[in-house]
Symmetry: D2
């Protein structure tokens, strides 16, 4: 992944398999990596939100990175989330990720604290200047409660501060403005624009996105790889059919209902699906998330069957 070509394709945020006692289950993680690469993905994003990064202590983060980078051995690029509240904390994670061989890092706006556009800009500049690898902005208002400005992203891209953006804002109009702005400005050829959305990937690619970072890609990497290849080949009708199948499957993220938070339910469903498909050994999610019960796991199984994945 040189600075001269934009990262593209399917880059799933890799789930972090855990043993029942909450440790990183590295054997399952290796199997998951194989499952993803065999499924045709173009890169891996570890330590993202879908990886339960918010739940993983630094020791777990380290084990994940070592395991994945070591096992991937350069077959595909590995991005690492350097997810923390502000600049110096992010830089600590970034340095560790670089030391362990990550090809790039993914960084949100500051959170927990009350921030400001000028501070967000300074944050990305400082992180990029200290990181030593390409930095991707992670636009995730649902977690950090601020939205990255499109002009800021393009300015920082043109200057070489940012290597790209993973847009999980859900603001498709703003996303498209970035795509158009990139096309019309100089110096942005290698600036990668990826969508974090899982349900309108055909549209995102149609609008000009380089790739997709789908949490659901853990469960069905073949599906997202197929969708991506179909779109690239211009077979948009087939891409749409594939996307619609994946959207139906995605409905299982609400399996936990109102007795738990949205994270517990969605990540629980992803992990239950990987468990039922035989990829990981345990459906365990990190504390303090509420685990799915047997009925809920059975419901996940029904969704898998309906999607021809069991």
């Amino acid at each position: 992944m040189s600075a001269a070509t934009a990262l593209s394709g399917v880059v799933p945020p890799v789930c972090t398999p855990l043993s029942p006692d909450g440790e990183v289950d590295t054997r399952s993680l290796v199997r998951l990596v194989d499952h993803l690469i065999e499924g045709g993905v173009d890169g891996l994003f570890v330590l993202g939100s879908t990886s339960e990064v918010a739940y993983l202590p630094d020791g777990h983060r380290r084990v994940v990175l070592e395991t994945v980078v070591g096992h991937v051995a350069g077959q595909v690029p590995v991005l690492a989330g350097a997810i923390d509240m502000t600049t110096l904390r992010v830089l600590d994670h970034a340095r560790e990720a670089v030391r362990l061989g990550a090809d790039g890092i993914v960084v949100t706006a500051p959170y927990y604290t009350r921030t400001h556009p000028a501070e967000i800009e300074g944050h990305f500049r400082s992180v990029a200047s200290g990181a030593g690898v390409p930095v991707y902005a992670y636009d995730l208002p649902v977690s950090v409660h601020s939205k990255l400005g499109g002009d800021l992203l393009l300015d920082l891209g043109a200057e070489g501060v940012l290597a790209g953006v993973k847009d999980s804002s859900g603001d498709e109009g703003a996303f498209r403005s970035i795509l158009l702005g990139r096309r019309e400005r100089a110096g942005l050829d290698s600036f990668s624009v990826l969508t974090g959305g899982e349900l309108t990937v055909d549209c995102a690619l149609w609008m000009g996105a380089d790739g997709v970072v789908p949490g659901l890609g853990n469960v069905d990497p073949h599906g997202y790889a197929r969708l991506y290849r179909l779109a690239r080949a211009g077979d948009w009708e087939a891409a749409r059919v594939e996307q619609e199948r994946l959207l139906r499957l995605f409905q299982f993220v609400t399996v936990g209902g109102t007795r738990m938070g949205g994270s517990s339910s969605a990540l629980g469903a992803f992990k239950a699906a990987l468990y039922l498909r035989g990829v990981i050994a345990h459906p365990t999610t990190a504390v303090p998330q509420i685990p799915l019960d047997e009925d809920e796991i059975a419901t996940v199984g029904k969704h898998l069957s309906a999607a021809d994945l069991l």
Copy 2:
């Protein structure tokens, strides 16, 4: 601070003085601790929001704790914020805080991730069971985007899971419900209820609060200590006059206006005031906050003069 008596009085969240290159300025920190203790405070809360904990990497956090615990040497209790996104990360900070001698830790609800009351309860239970020192809940919706339920706090207090709460929610009705609930239920005598609000401390004490955790107490610990003693002595009129003086002083937190975030402005004003009062050597705030300029620092000085603090 035994489990048998509730923490009470003035427990300021201690600012973290920084050198111009962003390191912890331990000489200034020691002077600040002396300034606070000499000012009559009853405890210290390090690594809270006012301490810029969101901006401090683990190394800085460690230096702060070592410096403060070492210098205080048991004169007053020292609470330490164990501020991170979820349980296992909080526990890492908690263990480090205990190792370094903190008398208690302060913990928020999970953030960054989408959470749920049942998960918040599990979070506090797990943290308390692993921490080994008293755990204080930190109710801070402006940062973590969820509000702690009063019944949950009282239940966990009665069970001995929580030693108290620092309420920075700004919801005075809910705060008072907790105070009444504590009075009417068994087993809550040593459950400490502290307000994080700086501007209605006389009222909070009037309603039955045990103490206050005022950011502004860095700048004028004598003022808050005086206010607390007056209230305890039943001289509410004089307490009110003191509170009103402090409220006028507090207006300086907006000195940075709209060119920076609220954190940069408020923490910048606190640190500028400490610098102008000769307590700390530099008004530096942590990146990526925007520093106050000379005019803004001069404005802080005018507020100090008006409050008879220069």
Copy 3:
């Protein structure tokens, strides 16, 4: 209520009794007004949030105003909410209220649309210039999703644009800043500062507020009148005891739990209490609110008994 003296005391937002078919039950409304005046209130605020103004069509609003103004016949001032989205719509309500004899109107910031401080200022100026009676600002972020600035309120008060503010923001620090600002600036002697909070009325009066607009005052006007008189007489201890009794009673607002919205539950509890106390003929709330069921109404009754109101 002349422009020369600030409105003060207990000014409850009057519930709007409805018949089972959703019409204004004017006989019950008259009884409620008598209940309130006999309870010792100093003014009435009709067509506020507690009056279900958001649910009342213009015809209902008219009947309410006619009934209340006619029955009160000048015994106490009657304020009317002119609650609508923007200036011209508010002015229509304001003119109708004036025509029907309201002594003042109560007006929020614009809502539904995306607004701005400069637009909020223009809104109040236009409404005041067209209304022909004193205008009170209604600070209600929970409904209108913006907060009124304290400096704006004081500026508009000093200019005579606003006659006062009903602060239901829950931001006690900002509220106190207004109270201090009023004391320190010229021309604000008749600017009335009222709290919409029901649970810290002793504190609000202690800080200098002129009065209170308590929804719970429908159920127990004697209690709030007593609390107010005690505070004015300087018997703060007794005022506190009274406030604590009222706070315990207030817990019934959550009787509807999670099967309905907060408005259905709180207004349902108020009306059930008035029904059980024999003041109004039906506990009916306006569509599309969910009615309390028999068990929930029985629970309201238990709270009334505990507060010696049955």
Copy 4:
């Protein structure tokens, strides 16, 4: 527009031209209607957010409806927003709209008050049962602060309660789930699914939407009509080029910057553009919006020139 066929195509929310003194400028409104119909639109939506409905008193609303329904004379269907806080108020507007000849009404969830899914359902049921014309749900979280559930919409559609939805939520995944759900369930053939988004219309149509309700369609109805026809003809490449031209034009909505609210700026830009194109006589927006100044209007002109519209 019979109940047997779903409303489809381009249905712009019609701006409300005002004279400098704030009255409805009916001559300009008639010209605007002609401009839209000549531009090839398939229906008109009056009294929506883009029509400044939040700013229009009932008298203005009436004039708008009379003028548009009278002038259109059945050439295309006319939908009318019945925009108000809760059921009975909405029904008043609905009856008036029906009396004046609207072919359908458009209704949001309750707002200003704290609501609940069960109350939202009851709201739509009551409105539909009383309205006498097809009811379209208007999903507009930015204004009403709650999101309509996809299952609720489909259930109410299958029952015949709702005739369709205008989705301005910006949640493209949820939107697509509705489109898939409609395809897979019986009884929804005439349930119309329209997007309120202006910048990804090609994608919405690609996903199966029936049509679009674009505010920007006031300024360039020919563009949206062209885009719609191209998509229907399967010429997606040309549709995309057209959408991208319109997206560039749309950038002018931020012309007012930070000195005004988003509504003032966007509606100001739309009206300035219509004024510069000679469609309406005055760029006046309703109070208390801040008017664009000469420089800002000139900037709008530059955007029009760049889009070949001047």
